[in-house]
């Protein structure tokens, strides 16, 4: 299969990239890991005259720990994020999202920015980005803005990024003590899979009152974008972290929060049922981890 002809740009700094983006606008696509974009170009699903590769901009592949948050550059790869000690320790659900995306070859190229910008409802890192309350960092020429991840996705394959903007990375607040999270994805096989349903849950409890004081639940593949399960979260808040309340929250997620459709990967009915199962399971593991944290 041949790639169509395009001009290739390789800026060395964010500024240079933003200048290019400003100049070329809609007529350019950002190339990060290329694991989706190059496939789409080969299959003629996407057309462009210009590719702007971000891979030579060092700042975009950094993972840095700040006082109460971490920064993950948009071009950090799945493998790189997974190897990061702070992520392994504090962001287990994100690590497991990264570990489950595609396969070992894809994970060496695919980036978190690419995963977010593709905005697939089934994206493996997206539920984790949602439950860790990430902030997307966007830049355009001479301008920066920060978008809470919950507002980032606008539809299948669509995000709020403007044509002159580049996603530079994410800022994730470091989870507090007595919190834990978990991610489970369900597909037909165990590698190189596109999820049928994927769910991540975050939970913080008060060891004194033994009540859930924060919870965030994110559902993938069951709506036009990855979504937060607001009603399930509300149902769990203030409850004791135990099986009955996890089950009640899961039922809420299943009945009220998800809006799945039928496609060739699975039916809406099954997806909905699995939202219940995976929500319950992720909450239970999140709590186990919170106890250990």
């Amino acid at each position: 299969m041949l790639l169509p002809m395009f001009e290739f740009h390789e800026p060395l700094s964010i500024e240079e990239a933003l200048e290019l983006k400003k100049k070329l606008g809609q007529n350019a696509r950002i190339l990060a890991g290329g694991t989706d974009l190059l496939v789409h170009l080969k299959k003629k699903l996407v057309k462009t005259d210009n590719l702007i590769s971000l891979s030579r901009i060092k700042a975009l592949s950094l993972i840095t720990e700040q006082k109460d948050s971490i920064f993950i550059g948009a071009c950090a790869t799945m493998a790189q994020i997974s190897r990061s000690p702070v992520i392994a320790k504090k962001f287990t659900a994100l690590k497991s999202g990264c570990d489950n995306l595609g396969n070992h070859l894809i994970r060496n190229r695919a980036t978190i920015g690419g995963n977010a910008c593709n905005a697939s409802p089934a994206g493996d890192t997206l539920p984790a980005l949602l439950i860790y309350d990430s902030v997307a960092l966007l830049e355009s020429y001479g301008k920066k803005r920060e978008i809470p991840i919950a507002d980032f996705f606008t539809g299948p394959g669509k995000s709020c990024i403007q044509p002159d903007e580049i996603l530079t990375g994410f800022r994730l607040p470091i989870p507090t003590d007595h919190s834990g999270a978990h991610y489970i994805q369900l597909g037909k096989r165990k590698s190189s899979e596109i999820n049928v349903v994927n769910v991540a849950s975050f939970l913080e409890y008060d060891p004194g009152t033994k009540k859930v004081i924060t919870t965030r639940i994110a559902l993938g593949s069951v709506a036009a974008t990855p979504i937060r399960a607001a009603r399930a979260e509300a149902a769990l808040l203030g409850q004791a972290p135990e099986e009955a309340s996890f089950f009640a929250a899961a039922e809420m997620a299943r009945r009220e929060d998800c809006r799945p459709i039928d496609d060739f990967r699975g039916t809406a009915g099954y997806r909905q049922a699995m939202v219940g199962v995976l929500t319950k399971r992720t909450l239970a593991t999140a709590y186990e981890r919170a106890k250990g944290a």
């Binding site: 290739f8 290329g34 060496n108 190229r109």
Partner: protein
């Protein structure tokens, strides 16, 4: 428009003019006649085109040649030594881990990269380490055995 890139392939430096839309896999195969790197899908689904790029295995069909500018690339052709097959390649022969052989160069590159990074992989790590390399012939069993035999 062609651009001259320089890169190291199997310890040899190359300067080569490439169109921006040429993949690393196509450059290796059709420009440099390094046909040991195979193409089984061209869309990053099969792993037959696996090469090591700057220390990590990648699908070379999903890397532009121009992106490999300045990189160090290892392909299957670089694995054998003056004495012949490398011990890992020998293990694949010895254990019967190769049938049609079309996926083998890619799998061997993944296995090499795995063992380079982790000389004592567990069974799960071995499975993970070749999870992007599809093999339709062997059922993977003898591939696992070959890699296991190379644990240090």
């Amino acid at each position: 428009m062609k651009k001259i890139i320089s890169l190291t392939i199997n310890d040899q430096s190359h300067e080569i003019a490439v169109e921006p839309n040429i993949t690393l896999a196509d450059m290796l195969r059709y420009e440099l006649a390094l046909t040991g790197t195979k193409k089984g899908c061209d869309t990053g689904d099969c792993g037959a085109c696996t090469v090591i790029m700057d220390g990590d295995v990648v699908n070379s069909c999903l890397v532009l040649a121009i992106q490999a500018n300045g990189s160090v690339i290892e392909t299957i052709e670089g694995l054998s030594t003056d004495e012949g097959l490398s011990p890992l390649q020998e293990a694949f022969v010895e254990k019967g881990a190769i049938q049609c052989g079309f996926c083998s160069p890619g799998i061997i590159m993944s296995a090499k990269n795995l063992l380079d990074k982790n000389p004592n992989p567990t069974e799960d790590q071995i499975r993970e380490g070749v999870s992007g390399n599809l093999c339709r012939c062997t059922g993977y069993q003898k591939i696992f055995e070959a890699i296991e035999s190379q644990r240090s």
